[in-house]
């Protein structure tokens, strides 16, 4: 954190360099500009798109779905993951089954969600939840497994209840692993919601992006992708902010 400014500068430099390469590749025609419109064109298009009320509305819809799905998936997933890590019996029963569920491409189940929820908010949220929960469960299990036995013994000797142990020992010591998991989960969640929107939708940004792609509107498509990436990155940064606030005790 002390070298914060240097690191930040380096990071900005890398981002700028990436955009510059993108621009050059496209402008010089090394890559067909029809396939990869230049960075500046994409950003201009992005600006135009954001002017449109319909796009802003789509973004708002998607954001609401994403946030809802995430807010549901993370606590539920974390709880299940915790139970699995803590309770051997439950783990033996559930772990392999969950793992198999995790290994199947989720998009196969999209029709099931329409069957159960119809098309709409709950279907998107449901699918976002479904895409996220398994990774949350698995990451929580991982995180729990990195906790030191001595620390648990100490807490036990002070008569910590399971809930207290969870919040005062597990949570802080798992934090780095957990936050990383949170980041990945968010990405899964976002992808899940967008896939659901692409699959069947009346609104939402995923639906727009699918159309742009199928219509070979590369500028809009890339602008849309940038838009989603920015949302995900903003979330990433939020998590990182939490992380730096919480783990200053690490050297």
């Amino acid at each position: 954190m002390r070298a914060g400014i240097v690191v930040k500068a380096a990071r900005v430099a890398i981002v700028v360099a990436l955009f510059a390469i993108w621009e050059i590749l496209s402008r010089t025609g090394i890559v067909n500009p029809r396939l990869l419109p230049s960075a500046s064109d994409t950003l201009t298009t992005l600006g135009d798109l954001l002017q449109r009320a319909s796009v802003r509305k789509d973004l708002a819809v998607t954001a609401t779905e994403v946030v809802t799905a995430f807010a549901l998936a993370v606590p539920v997933g974390a709880l299940i993951g915790f139970l699995i890590a803590e309770n051997r019996y439950f783990a033996d029963v559930a772990k392999p089954l969950l793992f198999f569920a995790f290994s199947i491409p989720k998009s196969i189940f999209l029709p099931m969600f329409i069957l159960v929820f119809g098309v709409g908010f709950s279907q998107k949220v449901g699918f976002g939840f479904f895409s996220t929960i398994f990774i949350v469960i698995m990451s929580t299990t991982t995180a729990v497994e990195s906790v030191k036995v001595e620390h648990l013994t100490v807490a036990r000797s002070y008569g910590a209840t399971p809930v207290q142990t969870a919040f005062r020992v597990y949570l802080p010591s798992m934090l780095p692993v957990l936050l990383e998991a949170l980041r990945i989960s968010m990405i899964f969640n976002l992808t899940g919601v967008i896939l659901a929107e692409m699959y069947a939708s009346r609104d939402g940004i995923g639906h727009q992006i699918a159309t742009w792609g199928e219509n070979f509107q590369m500028k809009q498509l890339l602008a849309g992708v940038v838009m989603i990436a920015v949302i995900a990155i903003a979330f990433n940064e939020l998590v990182r902010w939490v992380e730096t606030r919480c783990s200053h005790w690490r050297t």
């Binding site: 013994t153 008569g159 010591s173």
Partner: protein, 270 residues
């Protein structure tokens, strides 16, 4: 050592009656991948309420194991242990407190927060907790180090935080596993005297493990000497030196002969 102004721990007052410890024919066998290890065999021991008992014995003889069993952190393979009249299948901070051989501080908490931890578990209010943690830290000579994280403390400082964490709980039975091992002689003496003062004031039962025979005799009502593998009790001495103890007694004959008697056991068995 930062500001060695050790002050009384105001909040440690004789609230709860001291506990009795009864250990009956206790054995502990560890199953390892290679073979079974008989760590303790047929250990029986009675600690009356309010006594200060010191456990000595060569490295690896089972002292820590015995303490863990008394704390309910490990179940014996055979025999029974009761604390204040009841078995202890689970750790119970209302009956027993432990200071571990390794400091085992939570790295994500500051020294202060580490000491507050057991109080926070019991729902003591923030301000009350803070005050008591401050007192305990003052007591171990770490006034002003409350805001540091464990990795910013020296080995001895960590051990002292761990002692403070044990004391702040104020349990009727206090089990301490080599608490002063990483301390210099002066700090060790001061801490020993503080411990005796608290003990006298509160009437706790203390079981204390140490490798320093001088410390053992200086602190104890009774010294229990253990032999190595399988760990057994080979001697049980009553230390009848008057209290308060002074460092002058260390050169006295009574002291010397007690120390020698223990030393002979240790020498033989190690």
């Amino acid at each position: 050592m930062g500001g060695n102004t050790m002050q009384p721990l105001a909040n440690i007052t004789p609230l709860k009656p001291a506990g009795a410890i009864e250990v009956r024919n206790v054995g502990q066998i560890f199953k390892t991948t290679t073979q079974d290890v008989v760590a303790l065999e047929d250990v029986s021991l009675d600690v009356k309420p309010g006594r200060f008992v010191v456990l000595v014995g060569p490295s690896g003889c089972g002292k820590s194991t015995l303490l863990m069993m008394m704390a309910g952190l490990r179940q014996q393979t055979s025999g029974t242990i009761t604390i204040s009249g009841a078995p202890i299948p689970e750790p119970d901070p209302n009956r027993v407190g432990v200071v571990f051989q390794e400091a085992s501080l939570f790295p994500w908490l500051t020294a202060e927060e580490n000491v507050e931890f057991p109080l926070a578990l019991r729902g003591v209010t923030k301000s009350d907790r803070r005050a008591r943690a401050q007192d305990a830290l003052k007591l171990v000579g770490l006034d002003g180090f409350g805001k540091r994280h464990p990795h910013e403390l020296s080995g001895g400082m960590k051990q002292r935080v761990s002692i403070a964490r044990g004391l702040v709980q104020d349990p009727p039975v206090l089990l301490m596993d080599e608490p002063f091992a990483a301390l210099d002689e002066q700090t060790r003496m001061t801490m020993g005297d503080e411990l005796l003062r608290i003990w006298t004031a509160t009437g706790k039962t203390v079981v204390f493990v140490t490798h320093s025979l001088t410390e053992a005799v200086y602190l104890a009502d009774e010294v229990i000497v253990m032999s190595p593998r399988p760990g057994r009790i080979v001697d049980h001495l009553q230390v009848s030196l008057p209290r308060p103890r002074t460092y002058d007694m260390l050169s006295g004959d009574a002291f010397g002969s007690l120390r020698d008697r223990i030393w002979r056991h240790i020498r033989k068995s190690a």
